[in-house]
Structures are given as C-alpha cells and as structure tokens.
Amino acid sequence: MPSLCRSCDAVSDSPGRLCVLCGSRLSVSHAELLTLAIAHVDCDAFYASVEKRDRPELAAKPLIVGGGQRGVVTTACYIARLSGVRSAMPMFKAVKLCPEAVILPPDMAKYAVESRRIRALMRDLTPLVEPLSIDEAALDLSGTEALHRAPPAVMLARLARRVESEIGVTISIGLGPNRLLAKLAAERDKPRGFSVIGAEAAALLAPEPISLLPGMGPAATARLAGIGLTRIGQLQALDDGAALRLLGTDGPALVHRARGEDSRRVEPFRETKSVSAETTFARDLSGVAELEAVLWRIAEKLAARLRAGGWAAGGLTLKLKTGRHVLRTRSQRLATPTALPDLLFATGRSMLARETDGTAFRLLGLGAQPLRPAADADPIDLADPDAARRVARQKAVDKLRDRFGATIIGRGRGLKA
C-alpha cells in the first residue's frame, strides 16, 4: 500500500510510523493514494487560527471568536474545544464552560483577505477550485499529474505546508473519488489532517450514524429514526423503490450518498444564485416598528450588495429566527425585478406584517432570489407614475455614496431605533 510522508513528499510502499527519509511522523497511506484526485480542503478553526497568528501571545490560550452582547460562538480554537466549546453555541454557555477563554469579535474583512490568499495557492494546483465557504473548498486535480509531475496527494501535502508557512494557519485535507467522500474524509482527521477514502467507502460508512451524511440535520435524522433507520448501513441496503416509498422523493438520492456515491462536479464558476443580508439583534425584538427599522437597514444593505454584483432581485425571501431559534422563511416573487431599497423594503414589510404576532425574534434577514441582471431592474411601470422618479433618486443617492461614503445621505427611516 503506497504511503506518503507529508513532511518531505517521500512516497514509499511500506507504511511505517516514521518516514525513512526525514523521520517525520506525518504520513498517510491508502491503496488508492496515488490515483484519487478529488479533494476537500478545510481550514482548521479558521478565524481563531488567523487571530492567533496575529497575536502570538494567545497561541497557548483558549480563544473564542464570536460576537455581540449576546452573540454565539463563531469559531473556537482547539484548546477551547477541549473544554466543550463548539461553534454556534451561545456565548454565555461557552464562557461558563471555558471561563479563562479570550474572546475576540470577528474581523470578517481580515478573514476574507486570508481566504483569498489561500484560494490563490489552491489555484496553483488546479483551475478547478470551488469555494464552498470562506474556509472550505473543493478541488478537482484530475489530469494534473503530468503538469506537476506529482500525483494529487503529493501536491495536496505541499499545499498544506505552503498554507502553514505562507498564511500561518493549518488545513485539513480529504481525498476521495468524489466530493462527498473527500468531504467526509476531511472531517475524519482534524486538525492538520490528511485522510483518504476510496473503494472501502461503503464498508467504512455502514456502521456510522446517518447524521454523518451532509444534509442530515437533527430533524431529518429524527424522522428516519422514527422508522427505525439510524445507521448508514441500513440506508445502503435499500433499493431505489424502497427508498422512494420509505423516504419520499429525496430517498433514492440519500441512499446513493449513503453508499458514498456522488456525481456532483467541482465547478469553479458556480453562479451566484442569491444575495442576502441579515442581522442578529442585540436583544429579541417583537415590536413592528423596531423590526421595520431593522428591515429598512437590511433592505438598504441588500440593495447595495445587489448593485455591487450587478444584480436585481426577481424574488424576495424574508428570514426570521424566533427567540427560540425556530427559523421562519417567507418568499415572494416580485412582479418586476428591482434593486431599489424602497421596493425591497415594501415587499419585505408586507411579508413581515404577517409574522409580527407578538413573537420575539432574534434575527431578521432578506434574500434576493432568483437574481436578474441589473439591466432588467425597475423598468417603467405603467401602474406607478412615480417609478421613474424613484429610480433617478436612488441613482443620485448612489452617486453621492460612491463619492462621499455610505453615511453621507440616508432616509430618515434609517435613523429610527
């Protein structure tokens, strides 16, 4: 079975604990190590790692990146994780678990810069890099061996070393025959990991809980448990007919995933499908006026993002999260595409009006989907004699903001609350 030393790229046929050339303990072995080409790369505790890099004095301390007076944990470093702190955990709970932790507010702009730098290093390996989030990407290295004169596994080991030395954070790599297995592999060995899943996928997955599969959240897992399905192996045993009958229309696809099958390609230029803006409040809000004040700011932010991307909203989704973390989304198609904050706000407000029944909300968001080209936005509207004037007004506002900054001019409505 081929074995790769992740420190010196030495490939040998005898998996041992130490590399014969450099003595490193970091090695990875797998029967298909030198042929598999789809990778999933995930940065380890990305925000926390970037912060620790910039503040070496925090290196040995538990660090939590998260925000606000009542926010949640965005990222916890691996030291904080030892105390049980997890992402998305309410901050008060995290502080209780790990009182000595250092807490820093997230600096998204900084992380975005680092993310782009890492992505650039990835593109040195292959043009087929599909960013999945700020700290995750799928890579297809098929056919690159001739160019690099090294198999994908070796190139990935080099990437990990480059990211460590040039960016100062560590990554975990999953290698597999498809995106699903690459992702599952990456999750198996973290942090600073390198894991491979190949032909043994089905056997490997069989004893695992169904919740391991992407897309299987608590609700879906509970539903399957209700019909006696808890292990991936049980899903693997179903044929398409049984899957359809037992699990509904998505059943056959789920069974294929359970078997480790995935036909999705790595697509570097995946089109933007939606643009959104949202905010979590400092305290729960239930009043119509307070919520509308926030909605206006979000509508303005969304309008600005649409404009920046050259888009207009063909439909609008209102997203609300109640104080008890129950998600509510409401969608509406727009009669004509728009990028005007006024119209985004008006549509959002009519959807919001149906939800403001005294429920306390912690989060409010607006999403534009489907997206339409900006050129189709806000045409002359025979039913709205003021439409043309509104478009002209917004253009003037945008011009002022481009020149003097976003705060130079705004609606009175935006000053409330």
Binding site: Q332, A335, A346, T347, A375, I380, L382, A383, D384, P385
Partner: protein, 375 residues
C-alpha cells in the same frame, strides 16, 4: 318550505348564482345557496362574502319558507335531470334534510341553518345609471385582460370605473385597467345619473361574474353604486359586490402624449404574423421583435433552443413613414390588445424602450399602452 319549479328555468338561475360560490370553502355555509319561496316566487342567493348574486324565478309555491343547500351538488343534480322535468323541493324545517324529487328520482340533501346564511347588504347606493348590456360588455372586454393578478398591488386587481374629461373636454365614463406592463383605457358617453359617481375599483371576480350575466342579455343593465358597493341588475338577476378599497394610480401621467412614429397595419395580417413568428418559442414571455422601415414591418422571434422565425409585412399592408425603429413586445400582450381591435391597428411609438400607444384606427373610444421588452 315546499315548491315546484321547471328544470330549465331552475337550471339557468342555478348556473348564475352557483358560479359565485368558491370551490374550496373554509366556512361551510358559504358552499350553500339559499332558496326562499314566497307567493309564487323563488329567490336564489349565493355569496362569497364579497359578491352576492340574487336571482328570482317563478315557482309554484306549496308552502312559503326558506332553506340552504350545497350549491355545487344541487346544480349538478338539476343539470342531470331530464329535460322538461318538474322539480319538487320539500323542506319541513329545522335540521331535516331537503327532499328533491323529479319524476321517479328522489334525493335528500343535508341543510345548514338559514339563520347562519350571511346576508350582504348593499347599504344605500347613492348613484344609479343604465347602460346597454352590449356597451358594458365592450367596456369590460377591452379592459379586463390588463387587470393585474399581483396581490401586493391589490388596487390593480380590478377595473377602475370613473368619470373623466375626454379629449374634447366632455365628461365621459371611463374604465381603466393596468398591470404595470400594459394599460387599457376605454371611454363611453356618460350616462344619465353617473355624473357624480366616485371612482371605484371593481374586483376581477365581480367583473368576471358580471360579464357572464351580460353574455345572455341584450337589455339595459342598471348599475347602482356607492363608495364601497356596486350593484348590477339585469332582469331578474342582481349582483352586489364590495369594491376594492384602494387608490388607483394616476394613470394619465404614464400615457405618452408625444409619440409621433405612427405604424398602421391590418389587424388580421398583424395578429396572424405575430402568432406565426412567436410559435418558434414555447416560452410565453419571449419577445416578438418589430423592425420598422419605410412601409415595411419585419416581425421576428427567436428561441435559444429551437431557432428563429421572421415574417415581413410590406407596402400594401403596412403604412410607416418615420425613422427606422426596432422594438420588442411580449406576443401575448400584443394578442390581448389586437383581439379587441376590429380593422386596422395603429401604433404610436417613441423609441425602442419607451411606452407605446396602441389604438383601433376605426374606434377612438379605446386606448392601450404597452411597455416594450428588451430585444
């Protein structure tokens, strides 16, 4: 309650009133219609709380009284009874089922309490006037296609009926509808009694129900209205409806005044050419492009999957003397308008992206505005 009625007479009345009953109802009584009989007259009433239709027909009264019965079922039964049958209804009162007999056929229908049946009062209708059924039909047909279905702009979900000064300054009765993409405006001489009517927005469903009743009629329609209600009376049928509580946009401001590029084309030639070139695309919202040159109109359409089509209309069939122009419209919107035009269509263009005015060259009472699409 006990009475007999002729199947044909009953069926016609049932067809009118049951049509207002919503197919899916959360309030059970709204699925029923009320029948009440007195002194040889049967009164049938159905309502969806927005619209009520009341129709009176002759019946042989055996015992005065009232009952409610499921509208759709009753209509289906009567429709399936043999022609010429005499139908007998008998309801002893209370919760007892309604017995219906015709010849050797008998059925019993569950009833709901008469007291639960909502009554829709018209209140006082300060204005009333009469219009020939044919004229009202024309006003509806030439505007209703432009009624919006967009729920957020509920004030566009109907026909705006109001008075306004026509081109020569004389006050006219106007009907206007728009969905933002097209606008239809029809005006007719102001009938006596309509001088002071408020502008009202008649809901789409009311328009549709009224239009059905008008179908069969050659007489005058009596229209009575207030700010909140409108009532159409045709012979023995009376339709009362709530009005949309909203403000119709100031549509006059969007009607272009200075469009000076004039195209005239025969309606039949044009409509058929539009149908032929747009057949290339199954996607209904794809544009048909009109390219104009001196006495030449080239229509074209393309579909990325299926290909393209063009058709030329020249000299004998088209008059155009202005600068060359290219403009695109949704085929369906063009059809909706040309369907309402008799002989010759007149287009008044400004440029390829500005609202276009369409008229019937032989009829000044209607005016249409159409927004172009990018091509």
């Amino acid at each position: 309650m006990k009475f007999k009625a002729e199947r044909a007479v009953l069926l016609k009345a049932l067809a009118h009133v049951q049509s207002v009953v919503e197919k899916r109802n959360t309030i059970p009584i709204l699925a029923n219609l009320m029948m009440s009989v007195k002194d040889g007259t049967l009164t049938l009433t159905a309502t969806d709380m927005e619209i009520a239709i009341v129709e009176q027909i002759a019946a042989t009264t055996l015992q005065d009284g009232a009952a409610t019965a499921p509208a759709a079922t009753l209509y289906e039964i009567v429709r399936k009874l043999p022609e010429g049958a005499e139908v007998e209804f008998n309801h002893p009162g209370g919760d007892a089922p309604l017995a219906l007999r015709a010849g050797r056929y008998a059925t019993s229908l569950m009833v709901l309490p008469v007291d639960d049946f909502p009554s829709m009062t018209a209140g006082s209708l300060a204005h009333s006037f009469r219009l020939p059924a044919q004229l009202l039909r024309g006003m509806i047909d030439r505007t209703r296609f432009a009624i919006s279905t967009e729920e957020t702009r509920y004030y566009l979900n109907g026909i705006y009926l109001h008075t306004a000064a026509g081109s020569d300054g004389v006050k006219m009765l106007r009907a206007v509808a728009t969905d933002g993409h097209r606008l239809a405006r029809v005006e007719e001489p102001l009938p006596e009694g309509a001088e002071a009517i408020p502008g009202v927005i008649i809901p789409r469903k009311t328009v549709a129900e009224a239009r059905k009743l008008l179908d069969e009629s050659q007489e005058d329609v009596e229209i009575a209205l207030s700010e909140t209600r409108i009532q159409f009376t045709l012979g023995t049928v009376r339709l009362t409806s709530k009005l949309i509580d909203g403000t119709f946009p100031e549509y006059e401001r969007v009607i272009p005044r200075d469009n000076d590029k004039i195209l005239r084309v025969g309606k039949k030639d044009f409509a058929e050419a539009v149908a032929r070139v747009s057949a290339i695309s199954t996607e209904r919202s794809r544009p048909v492009k009109l390219a104009l040159g001196p006495d030449l109109l080239t229509l074209s359409a393309a579909s990325p999957e299926q290909g393209s089509a063009t058709e030329e209309l020249d000299g004998g069939r088209v008059t155009y003397a202005s600068a060359p122009l290219e403009i695109g419209f949704q085929a369906r919107y063009l059809n909706d308008i040309t369907d309402q035009i008799g002989g010759e269509v007149e287009f008044l263009f400004s440029d390829g992206s500005a609202p276009t005015v369409v008229r019937d060259a032989g009829d000044a009472s209607a005016l249409y505005v159409l927004m172009p699409m990018r091509v």
